[in-house]
């Protein structure tokens, strides 16, 4: 690892921020979902970087689990989005405001 760690971490930070902005700014549920995936991947990069820094493989194991959970999450999330689309003919997250107090 010749490129110093801060670079990887900075990249990760930027990607994470981009994902966050996407979650906040976009209204299509699918785009929001993809932004979430972006955030997850940024975190994965951070984990791998630190694993490499410390010389242990634990960080990578965590990434493994993140991958698994992300996969399951995507499956369920997309199923939900499809359901919402079937009942409401929209994937706009702003239209899903039934929890409005």
């Amino acid at each position: 690892m010749t490129v110093p760690a801060p670079f990887y971490l900075a990249l990760s930070a930027v990607l994470f921020t981009l994902g966050t902005v996407g979650v906040l700014a976009r209204r299509s549920a699918l785009i929001v979902f993809m932004s979430v995936e972006l955030m997850l991947n940024a975190v994965n990069l951070t984990l791998v970087t630190f694993a490499r820094l410390r010389g242990g493989v634990d960080g990578q194991v965590v990434v493994f689990f993140v991958l698994v959970v992300a996969a399951a999450e995507v499956v369920i999330g997309l199923a939900i989005i499809v359901n919402i689309f079937h009942t409401r003919e929209t994937v706009d997250v702003d239209d899903v405001d039934l929890l409005r107090g």
Binding site: A13, L15, E37, N41, R52, L67, V82
Partner: protein, 193 residues
């Protein structure tokens, strides 16, 4: 050595592509374009993992993320055929607000990142290999491993259940969708329109 240069160049390329892809994900008009941008980001990250000696993870990244998740996204996008976005209502955060927030956050995180200095631990050739990670998974992290399998099963069951309900809703109550004619299920999974 040349390795150092190669690494630096590779990292720069992946960084640029990654950021570009990230922007593409959040800024693209069409969802399909977002999906492809996501794919770009994922692949560059895979290269980054290789640079960080995490071979197993890199392969997993390609297989799971690029190979399964993005494909799933593309499927759903095709299924839903979402149109463009309508003007946003008032209470939702505006683009500007998000941008400001994003800038603040980015700066904070990057600042934090720069503080991660310290010696890099030396690793041997077996680091990050399938064997090493696998051994960790089945020894120290055996329990979380089992839990993860349960999560996957739960995901499967959930997906099946959710998929089923779509049938019941549109068939029984005549739902929001128009009544379907005798339509052959052309798509896998049988979700009706």
């Amino acid at each position: 050595m040349g390795g150092v240069l190669v690494e630096a160049v590779l990292f720069t390329i992946t960084a640029v592509l990654g950021v570009a892809g990230g922007v593409g994900v959040i800024a693209a008009r069409q969802p399909v374009h977002s999906a492809l941008a996501l794919l770009l980001v994922l692949m560059s990250l895979a290269v980054d993992y290789l640079l960080l000696d995490a071979q197993f993870i890199a392969v997993l990244q390609v297989i799971i993320y690029a190979g399964a998740i993005v494909v799933l996204f593309v499927f759903i996008i095709m299924l839903l055929r979402t149109a463009g976005e309508a003007p946003r209502p008032r209470a939702a955060p505006s683009m500007g607000f998000a941008a400001v927030l994003g800038t603040v956050m980015a700066s904070a995180l990057v600042a934090a990142a720069t503080m991660a200095r310290g010696p890099v631990a030396p690793v041997d050739a077996a680091y990050g290999t399938v064997q090493q990670v696998g051994r960790a998974l089945f020894h120290a992290y055996a329990l979380p491993f089992e839990a993860a399998s349960i999560v996957l099963v739960a995901g499967m069951i959930g997906a099946v259940a959710l998929g089923k309900r779509a049938h019941v809703v549109t068939a029984a109550s005549g739902g929001a969708a128009e009544p379907t004619a005798a339509r052959v299920a052309g798509t896998a999974g049988g979700t009706r329109r």
